[in-house]
Symmetry: C2
Subunit: 761 residues, 2 copies
């Protein structure tokens, strides 16, 4: 068991690591040749151009201004300076709401930490239970935890009272955040520019009609049932094959460009050669440029045919459509009501933004959808509880003997002592590490199979799965020190009170473990986030081999985006740890506070300067965040009941039982009050927007505006990865008066006006 | 433990009791002076008049036609003869759907019983486990149950396979019944005549406005947000005090009539005297007729004042209203959408029928509603788990010594030996019996406190509570032979597998107990239902003392109504018993089948001839019925897993675990597919009805039609108990060509046409 000394050493090491990352970041981000990696968002917005304006050739790549190096933490205040309304304008409500999760953590834990450290730590420390019990080993940390209070001591009153105070405070903060977010969302929706999804509804499961085509059937149905409001519709084509062809063509073009560049740079060389097999590694040798040119021509021909087929074949039309209405009111009505007496056809829901749509899932029939959900639920259960089985199997294979057998030619290398010890130390963990790295992708794939139709809902669904996985395998797994399936066995074979006691006893003992976990996973993870090693490497590779024009360079930049599906569940783990240990081991709380504060600054910087939004859902994920904090709160309350039942505190169960009941009730109240703001669109707001628009733009041709909004991206000039920007927003930058003048200029670092600080400081 | 002989004796006794009731019913119902008790529905509909037409004086009261007595079970085929569409016309969809619950029971259990008796009974009987185990006492019944199969026998394959067959069959029947009911409901709604609730929406939580009255505010809001559809609205008055006055006046009038009758019949007597105190038992003696006349005058004055106050005082207007629209489409849209961005104001829902409204609950604010629900949930928990505590306390008081102390003057009587033994045998049970009798009322009161706004939803809510109570205290209580709180303690202090085993072991042993329960509670209960002892007595009392005119006699008839809140949970108990014992003790099934068949005939007779509908919700309760059968099915599956885990059948848990998972999934599929038919009204259907109406009645003045539809009943001529019939239905009898001609005629018994059978056979 670690003592205070160890923890402090570990903290120092982790702080130094984090500091190292920050210094590296400070050095890298100031170099102009990394500019597109660390400020891609501004390039995407067209506000920042390539550094070509002035200075020597060297200056184009390396920053020689020594002054800028001194203040290497300058980006922090800069990141904090942009006020929230402008942040929402700049990066969208999703991003702003995401960093509010960190604020939520701070708001919950700053007062709890203060109270816990001033009240509970002295109460815990003024005892000598651990010192008297000779057989136990204990650390200084444990002296500050609840374990140091003797059984049945009246001092537990402090813990019981504070657990109520913490619960009420958490609920209070949650309530106000939910309220704020609901307000912000409604304001955001109200202030948004005209967007196609405001007028449109996604209709699925259009029933087949023997006499009419899908398109006619939809038109007739809505003309009859929404006579005053129906405007037009856009059927959905099954263009999955076409999309694949387009993607393949693009990758071939990349190769062609690579070889052309190679040849052009050294024209005296022979023409480049490639092999026709997989990844150019096997097969016949051919002239690369000619080969790829003909391949691309072939593909273009194929693509053209497929394009014609999709356009003419009625089989390619899926029983789904985007139906647009004359007014937002009409769309709001259609999205919220049931159309047909058969609840499995003519399903309507708000259309996602065009860029948010996950096109492949638009045409899944109702029953199949149900079967898919069932299968995925079972698959997720097995994944969560039995994932260790295949990993243990791989681990059993991946030993020295196994490698020697499989790859006998490596035998002499492996048997060298040093190599052997490295492999032996490295191998057992690698299967698990690889699994954990690909887990978010597996979960996303499962969500896709479940048939969600928008990227935002896929992200939310994956986050829910990932949270459950972390909760069971990381949190409970660490407390029990056993696999999930062992927990399940224990749970069914032990009395639930016995089970609660087992957990209760082990919570205080795991405090130091989780402190280390927070530092290694939390602190260092955040510091690694900001340095963007992978995009940095990718950008420079692409830049070297593929980039010819400014547009290529634009495409080579991968700004990335907020990875909600992975990041949010991790935050939830820290919230859960904080709530569980707030009464038990208060000394853990400062570590969590540092995590939240640090992560807040880093992610604020990232969403301002780096991440590009894949979609804008208007903070639709907040009810999920709220629910998961509530789940964490209830778990912490139940664990506390288990702990107290081992401490011989009379009637503690009866004293504590009210907490989960009140929390569940609180959740219901919040749900009833605020959730509808995230799933419905009130008619009053729709009417207001319609009326204003009608007054300001009486001549608007809505039909022309909506005509092509919901066309599959492959039909829009053949570009797959970057659907045409349909946002009004993106066409006209948000704060044009301040920023457009700076386009392409590189004098930001000298400027001193407030607005500049966000770009570089 | 009862053996087969005992069971058969008990069955014979119960059958004879039931038969006795039936004979009594046959005798009583044929007497013309009971006609209004046993055929009130026809009187309510105005199709049957009082027997005044022909014959001697005696014939008016006693049926002297001997032939009618011979076939005393004739009412049974008559009750079965009316086809279902006509039944729906005659008694409403609620009643028709209610008796379909019995049909559901029959459909589920007829094939299960056949299969179980032909397969499982022989399999169970061909063993000698019970005979060989000397220490156990066993009965013939047990020889037919699963207990007779030796542990780990391969014969259990039959039980496992059949449990899957039964699950699939039950789900199959449930699915088809749900589908049928959904279709019937939609047809019913589509074929309904014009009713005010089709055009109206109940709006609650209207926010206060400083400049406008509630009425103006509502009008403005809906004029703005539903400009093309809003027609008119009716605010809700807080007339609770007025309603009380009206009710009091009515009861005083009854007393006045009673004394007037008394005096008129014997004018030579002195004028009747009454006392002014409670129930006329205490206080000063006064002339009864004068006293009540002046009291009524006083009350009338007070009522008039209150009426004026309500009409003029803005404080008497509650922040709720019934808003009516120009079309069903407009109402459907408003009911299904959210109006304001604040989800706690401008709440809209379908308006209940005018007669279905529970007026007192229309103005509860959102937060108060949440607090009420929480408190009632807690109260229900304590009621379910701790109801034995006050009862045990009362029981401890209610012994001989206690009575002697409290009422010393009774001492000599009590100490007589016979009286003493009666009291001692009678007292302990009485508190519990009284509690169980008033339990449905307590639950209804709790539901009312929870703030539901319609009688139908109150019934559904109470049924849910009653079901939980029966499930925990009757079903689980009998299996555990312990109180609910003891079960809860066991559940928390024992491992869940251990707990399942405890239940599993005791299920087969309780088979004979439940067989007796089905006979005593089920069979005899149904037989008692048909004889209507309480209404019979009440009618004759009222007829003797209060009735002067034909209209009085009409009011003296209490047709009663289907008591969904109490009856449905009881049916669910039998369904649950059938499902649990279908694999374990198949011999129980025939008893359940008899219950369902008998109850089906009896209730079909009752809804045709007796019950008057309080409201028509269009079978809105079916999703609840479906859900509770699913719950029963899952309970039976879990108990079976517990039982099998004690029988040393290898892997039985893994074989059986799929059942509850699939059942839950099945429930989700059904819910998604059919539930919306019961809670939403599809726009397509609304549009069809609107279009048809527009074509057939282009000159309809909807405004006039809707103007007074939703006025509080006290404002409608001062009658509280019988709100004016607003149904078109009731104004024009349903099958006029067949039945109106018979109004007032008494020659039905001689007639032979098919239609007559429903009236009397």
């Amino acid at each position: 068991m670690a003592n205070l000394q160890d923890i402090l050493t570990s903290a120092a090491i982790n702080l130094l690591t984090a500091l190292g990352f920050l210094v590296a970041f400070a050095l890298l981000r100031l170099q102009p040749f990394n500019d597109r990696v660390y400020f891609p968002k501004w390039y995407r917005k067209g506000i920042r151009g390539s550094p070509t304006s002035s200075g020597t050739f060297v200056k184009k790549f390396v920053n020689l201004d020594a002054k800028t190096y001194i203040k290497f933490l300058n980006w922090m205040p800069a990141a904090l300076r942009m006020p929230e309304p402008e942040l929402i304008d700049h990066a969208g409500l999703d991003s702003a709401a995401y960093i509010r999760i960190y604020v939520l953590g701070l708001k919950i834990f700053v007062p709890i930490t203060a109270l816990s450290l001033t009240v509970l730590v002295p109460v815990n420390y003024m005892n000598d239970t651990l010192e008297r019990s000779k057989e136990l080993t204990f650390s200084d940390i444990d002296k500050l935890s609840i374990s140091n209070v003797p059984n049945a001591s009246p001092k537990f009153i402090a813990h019981l009272v504070l657990s109520y105070v913490f619960t009420f405070w958490t609920c209070f903060v949650l309530y106000h955040e939910y309220k704020t977010l609901a307000t912000k969302r409604l304001e955001f929706l109200a202030s948004e520019n005209r967007r196609p999804d405001q007028f449109s509804v996604l209709v699925r499961n259009v029933p087949p009609d023997p006499d009419e085509s899908v398109s006619e059937h939809i038109e007739h149905f809505f003309c009859v049932n929404h006579p005053d409001h129906y405007l037009t519709h856009q059927v959905v084509y099954n263009a999955n094959k076409l999309a694949k062809l387009v993607a393949k063509k693009k990758s071939l073009k990349n190769r062609l460009v690579y070889y052309q560049n190679k040849f052009e740079r050294n024209p005296q060389n022979t023409r480049p050669i490639t092999k026709t097999g997989l990844w150019g590694l096997w097969g016949d040798k051919v002239d690369a440029i000619n080969y790829y040119t003909t391949e691309i021509e072939k593909l273009s021909e194929e693509e053209k045919k497929e394009r014609e087929r999709v356009a003419s074949d009625p089989e390619a039309i899926m029983p789904a459509a985007f139906v647009s209405f004359r007014s937002r009111w009409g769309a709001a009505v259609c999205a919220q009501t049931q159309q047909s007496s058969n609840a499995t056809i003519w399903l309507t829901e708000w259309a996602p933004e065009p860029r948010d749509i996950y096109w492949r899932n638009l045409a899944i029939p109702y029953v199949e959808l149900n079967v898919r959900r069932l299968l995925m639920a079972l698959a997720f259960f097995f994944l969560t509880f039995f994932f260790m089985i295949p990993i243990a199997f791989v681990q059993s294979l991946a030993n020295i003997e196994g490698i020697k057998k499989a790859l006998p030619f490596l035998k002499p290398i492996i048997e060298m002592d040093k190599v052997k010890s490295v492999i032996q130390g490295f191998l057992p963990g690698i299967a698990l590490k690889i699994f954990l790295a690909v887990l978010p992708m597996i979960l996303m794939l499962m969500s896709k199979i479940e048939g969600f139709t928008s990227l935002s809902s896929l992200d939310r669904r994956s986050a829910a799965k990932y949270y459950l996985f972390i909760l069971i395998n990381v949190f409970l797994g660490s407390i029990f020190t056993g696999s999930a399936i062992q927990q399940l066995e224990k749970l069914t074979n032990e009395a639930s009170t016995e089970f609660a006691k087992t957990i209760g006893r082990s919570i205080p003992m795991k405090g130091t473990f989780f402190i280390t976990y927070i530092m290694v996973d939390g602190w260092s993870g955040i510091a690694a986030e900001i340095i963007r090693l992978v995009p940095l490497a990718m950008y420079h590779l692409k830049n070297t081999f593929l980039v010819k024009t400014e547009q290529d360079r634009d495409e080579a930049t991968d700004p990335g985006s907020l990875n909600f599906a992975t990041n949010e569940p991790r935050i939830q783990l820290y919230l859960l740890l904080g709530l569980v240990y707030s009464v038990v081991t208060p000394i853990l709380l400062p570590f969590i506070l540092i995590f939240f504060a640090f992560a807040y600054v880093v992610f604020r910087h990232q969403i301002i300067n780096v991440y590009d939004q894949k979609y804008e859902s208007g903070a639709a994920f907040w009810p999920h965040v709220h629910l998961r904090v509530i789940i964490g709160l209830i778990i912490s309350q139940i664990l506390l009941m288990g702990l107290f039942s081992t401490l011989a505190v009379q009637k503690s169960t009866y004293i504590l039982i009210a907490q989960p009941i009140l929390t569940i009730w609180f959740h219901r109240v919040c749900k009833g009050r605020f959730e509808s703001a995230f799933v419905k669109f009130p008619l009053q707001d729709a009417m207001v927007k319609d009326t204003v628009e009608c007054a300001t733009e009486p001549t608007l041709n809505l039909m022309a505006y909506l005509k092509d909004a919901y066309i599959h991206p492959v039909f829009k000039g053949g570009e797959m990865n970057k659907p045409e920007a349909v946002d009004e927003e993106e066409k006209s930058p948000l704060v044009p008066t301040k920023r457009t003048s700076r386009m392409g200029s590189k004098r930001e670092s000298e400027a001193s006006s407030e607005g500049h600080g966000y770009l570089r400081s």
